[in-house]
Amino acid sequence: MSFLPSILFGFLLFLAIALFVFNCRKIYRNINLGKNIDRSDNKKVRLLKMFRLAFGQSKMLDKPVVGLLHLIVYVAFILINVELIEIIIDGLFGTHRFLAPYLGGFYDFLIGFFEILAFLVVISVLIFWIRRNILNIRRFISNDLKGWPKTDANYILYIELVLMFLFLNMNATDFYLQSSSFSEYYKSYGYFPISQYLVPIYSNFSDISVMYVERTSWWLHIIGILFFLNYLYYSKHLHILLAFPNTYFSNLDKIGKFDNLSSVFNEVKAMLDPSHDPFSTNNNQTEIEKFGASDVFDLNWFQLLNAYTCTECGRCSSECPANETGKLLSPRKIMMKTRDRLEEVGKNIDKNGKFIDDNKSLLNDYISKEELWACTTCNACVDSCPIGIDPLSIILDMRRYLVMEQSAAPSELNNMMNNLENNGAPWPFNQLDRLNWKN
């Protein structure tokens, strides 16, 4: 019967990883619905940027206090997961603290270190919860987060709290059992600077019930981790993985440089070149490309990766001049809606095998013209994102669709563009008067 827990553990582990891989493939497929964009250049610069922004969290520290708290949770997350190696070995082979005899004193140090990290995480998460739910911080009480996003953010904090408690409780009961009638199984390994203070809770418990508590904590802890792994796909917490590719593939150019659509360039060349033959063969090779974006298919894969990576922190919207003056536009919401629409398209494909037109689109059904026209293209959102997300590029691509495919610019902008086309200036002045200022 002793192998039964091992089989159960192996089954759970397999199930969790399989489900996770299944969802990862969906994300990969959905991101690849986007158009191609070449981000294969400058590998070294990209790696460095990834190390700086994602590993080093350099931009998170722009806000020093929350940046530090986030850093604690992040470092703890990575380091405590080292313990996961041992938990998996123990789970699969029915051992207990498998690594302890091999690592000796270092093992004690590690466990002690993890406990201190876990304690710091508890403190940080509590502060995060207070910031999110009690202090009236604008980016957290914003309408953007009404409903699931707010719940999601709190769930993440609760899950982290529960996991840390289970980890500490597992150690506390282990520590207790090391000097109990079960000391044969619970050898004296580890150093417990934090969880030792939990031991008195169990002073009236029998040894056997403490052992049940220890086993339960151990199992719930690993089940919790596997659950959390699979929760990522449904959550903004996906950023803990996608922040890495997102920063790697992010834009390396000056942020003032907007891309020049090559499809437009071909047309412009054709129009200006008198020797251009509209009937020559290489013009017929592809059908005319759609200008700009009205749906997720028209965006590029990096923009779609951005949508999955967004952590909904709202730094972008709190810097956005339009949002700060009460306009409908919120760059955060642009990212969230893009992800929502992409997920909807993904579900459509899951159901039908391929995408069947659902008479919906990112434009109008998710993002309104009013939002798009409120943008000043000031790049504050782009600059403020700690992980290189570019909401402005989506806004611009959707404006391009409105103007070039639908001629649906606000009438004042049409006037401006008419002037520009006819007089070479956005105002109705004659180009021949351009030097009159010197008189």
């Binding site: 440089k257 907007f258 412009v268 700009g292 001049p321 009460g326 391009r400 070039m404 902008l413 008189n439």
Partner: protein
């Protein structure tokens, strides 16, 4: 005012070192024309070999591009590049950060690569080289706040040149709470200049003006003709009859140059 055009220069067989790209606002907007003149006075004073395109200049296409009309932008860009090539232009200076950004960053892949300077960068260089000499009396110790244009600052990482110019007149630079990469937009960019804003609880230029006024500076320095308009309107709307002025950095320098050279 003596302003050589490239056409005149070419007829004389001359090629200037640098093209002064005046821009639409600098050519047509009454307020911005004063900035253009200040800058030209400084170019003349420093004895720079420059020229303007005059009637051959046309909009860079920035407002069209940012409004989503990539087609119109590229038409403008390609024909501008053609004109620039015909005069063999290598170096361009402009008083407008939008022209600056567009020509510097967006023209190269359409076939036009130039060394592009914002006028604050050129003026900073001319002062450092001693080609423009500053008399420090006028603004010495006066509080000046500087509004970073988005397309000079965030977009192109130039924060120091305009500040160095304000330092050069020994003014007391009072930074706004949100400045440099955190500077709030004036509200004109992305073609907003040419349309009414969407429904909200405040105009962006009013918010920015209030931030500027809060520094207690009597001079709000700008480095973009559009920011200048937005902030001037902001002052009119919130502090009419006050002695707060919105000046381009070039005007501050122009008023501070020594009369002798």
């Amino acid at each position: 005012m003596n302003v050589p055009t490239l056409k005149e220069l070419k007829e004389k067989g001359l090629e200037p070192e640098i093209l002064f790209w005046v821009g639409c606002a600098g050519s047509f907007d009454d307020r911005a024309k004063k900035i253009t003149k200040s800058f030209v006075r400084l170019l003349n004073k420093a004895n720079i070999s420059y020229g303007v395109l005059g009637v051959e200049e046309s909009c860079t296409g920035d407002p069209a591009k940012r409004a989503g009309n990539e087609f119109l932008f590229q038409m403008q860009a390609v024909s501008n590049i053609e004109v620039l090539s015909s005069y063999n232009i290598k170096k361009i200076v402009t008083t407008c950060p939008h022209c600056f950004n567009t020509i510097k960053n967006e023209y190269p892949s359409l076939g036009g690569t130039y060394e592009v300077l914002h006028h604050t960068q050129l003026l900073d260089q001319l002062i450092k080289d001693g080609k423009i000499k500053i008399e420090e009396k006028l603004y010495k110790g006066k509080k000046i706040t500087f509004h970073d244009p988005c397309y000079l600052g965030r977009a192109n990482n130039e924060y120091s040149a305009p500040r160095s110019l304000i330092d050069s007149v020994k003014a007391d630079l009072k930074e706004m709470k949100s400045c440099k990469d955190k500077a709030l937009c004036c509200g004109a960019g992305g073609a907003q200049m040419f349309k009414e804003s969407e429904k909200g609880n405040q105009e962006i230029n009013i918010k920015r003006t209030k931030q500027a006024v809060k520094t207690n500076a009597k001079i709000i320095a700008a480095a973009c003709p559009f920011c200048n308009t937005m902030l001037s309107d902001g002052i009119k709307a919130t502090h009419d009859n006050s002695d707060i002025k919105v000046l381009d950095v070039a005007e501050i320098i122009d008023a501070s140059v020594s009369k002798e050279l």
